[in-house]
């Protein structure tokens, strides 16, 4: 293990941007992803920039328009223990509770989970395991072991909160050298496992803003060990009841380098009442909408079946929830 990474704690957004402009520097959240990657030689950053001295990145606040903002450096534990947020956004709380273990949630940050590095069973291995393989796309080579015909990396984004934020319609404040801008959560991901974030060098996420009217929503996750594992597939679904129509977002995660919006299933569910047949049909559309590779713990067929299963399960749960709240399905 190389032990020469510099840790810095700037206190202003401008200093964070300046430090991130230096070569080989990276934001350091809780370290629960970066440090093991460093231990296995997968992260070679020269500088880790911490956000915990930047006030905007460490606060949970409510603005005058009733929108909650969560700083990127807020820990998962702090969100779960917040007096208001888990009750207002149970979809988000469920997604956070599904992340790893209590000790990791005590340490990991929400910005870190959104920007989690992509993973692949051919890369996230100890150095001695990787010795036998030529480098893949993500390791600087020109080959993908999971998808040999692919021209780009297909490593998986294993974030549990990314689908939740997309389903909630959250927006992210991105800081750059010249200005700051707001983007939709889905716009954060490129779909390429190697460079999976749309952030340019020097750009970083300061806060996540939630909508003022929380939609109804559910989160579900399939993993090998319920106690700790990354998802093999996860899903977040939200419904925001409107006067004449409802806005629905169905987002699947952990089957590609970024979350996938299931628009065909959304259309199908908007066309009529949510009877059993329609839910089965909507869940089945996922098998055509996703193309997982053999780079997780489960095989391709298993992940597709798991995706269909949890989608159906989540839709059933959401239908019950809508019934309880008096929202027509």
């Amino acid at each position: 293990m190389t032990l020469h990474t510099r840790l810095v704690q700037p206190s202003t957004a401008e200093d964070v941007t300046r430090l991130l402009g230096e070569p080989e520097s990276k934001i350091f959240g809780g370290g629960t992803d970066l440090v093991p990657n460093r231990t296995w030689g997968l992260d070679t950053s020269g500088t880790w920039v911490q956000l915990r001295a930047v006030p905007e990145a460490t606060m949970i606040s409510l603005d005058e328009e009733g929108q909650w903002s969560i700083g990127a450096a807020v820990t998962l534990k702090a969100i779960l223990e917040h007096p208001k947020l888990p009750g207002l956004y149970p979809l988000l709380a469920d997604a956070i509770m599904a992340v790893a273990t209590p000790e990791i949630r005590n340490q990991a940050t929400i910005g870190g989970n959104l920007c989690l590095d992509t993973r692949c069973r051919f890369r996230n291995q100890p150095p001695i395991w990787r010795l036998g393989l030529e480098p893949c796309f993500k390791s600087g080579g020109s080959h993908c072991y999971a998808a040999p015909a692919s021209s780009q990396c297909v490593a998986i984004l294993s974030s549990d909160t990314a689908p939740a934020f997309i389903a909630l319609g959250a927006r992210l404040k991105v800081h750059s050298r010249s200005n700051s801008r707001w983007i939709e959560a889905l716009e954060l991901y490129t779909g390429d496992g190697d460079r999976h974030l749309t952030l340019a060098p020097g750009e970083w996420i300061e806060t996540i803003r939630l909508p003022s009217r929380p939609p109804l929503g559910v989160f579900d996750k399939w993993r090998i060990r319920k106690s700790i594992d990354f998802p093999e597939v996860n899903v977040a679904i939200s419904v925001a009841p409107g006067e004449n129509s409802r806005e629905m977002r169905m987002v699947l995660g952990a089957v590609a380098p970024g979350p996938i919006r299931l628009r065909e299933a959304e259309r199908l569910l908007a066309q009529g009442p949510w009877d059993q047949d329609r839910l089965v049909l909507a869940a089945h559309t996922v098998t055509g909408a996703i193309h997982p590779y053999d780079n997780g713990q489960m095989g391709v067929v298993g992940r597709k079946r798991a995706a269909e299963h949890i989608l159906y399960r989540a839709l059933g749960k959401l239908r019950n929830m809508m019934g309880e709240k008096g929202v027509s399905a």
Partner: protein, 166 residues
């Protein structure tokens, strides 16, 4: 600067250590301070054997660069008994330590320091946890010997002992 003095309070004693900022707290505890009670299991956050309290919050020492916790108060399994003794002068050991011995919740013992730190933190937050709460809190702790039965029973017993004392 990637190397320098890092100040910590470890088990109540102030320490100033010369270390790489990105060296893990686990390396510092074991290799510089010689506190080998905290175990080095997987080094990737999967096993929970390196659990310590950082400012009273259970966290994984293998995932924590020491530079990121400068100025913090660290409690390791070596300091758990003394921490308990501060509020219970008649006892040198935390009730979970005693219960682990009584219930045979230790076989090879490698996971035990992490289990103890997690269990003691649970009892501090929730004096009489249900079995489900205990299992949820131990989710990040792997034990390959005991099958967890005795560990959960020991924690339940420790909770009952503690509540009786209150």
């Amino acid at each position: 600067m990637s190397e320098g003095f890092v100040e910590l309070t470890v088990n109540g004693a102030p320490q100033a250590l010369w270390a790489q900022e990105s060296a893990t707290l686990l390396q510092v505890l074991r290799e510089i301070l010689g506190l080998t009670g905290t175990k080095n299991g997987c080094e990737t956050g999967h096993c929970g054997a390196c659990t310590v309290w950082i400012d009273d919050v259970p966290r994984l020492a293998c995932l924590t660069p020491v530079g990121s916790v400068a100025g913090s108060r660290i409690t390791t399994v070596e300091g758990l008994g003394a921490w308990w003794e501060e509020s219970h002068p008649s006892s040198h050991y935390h009730p979970v330590q005693t219960a682990f011995v009584e219930f045979g919740a230790v076989q090879c013992g490698f996971c035990t320091p992490g289990m103890l730190m997690a269990a003691a933190a649970l009892l501090r937050d929730e004096p009489l946890p249900t079995e489900q709460e205990i299992l949820e809190r131990l989710a990040g702790h792997l034990c390959r010997c005991t099958g967890y039965e005795q560990i959960v029973r020991a924690i339940r017993q420790a909770a009952l002992t503690e509540v009786k004392e209150l």
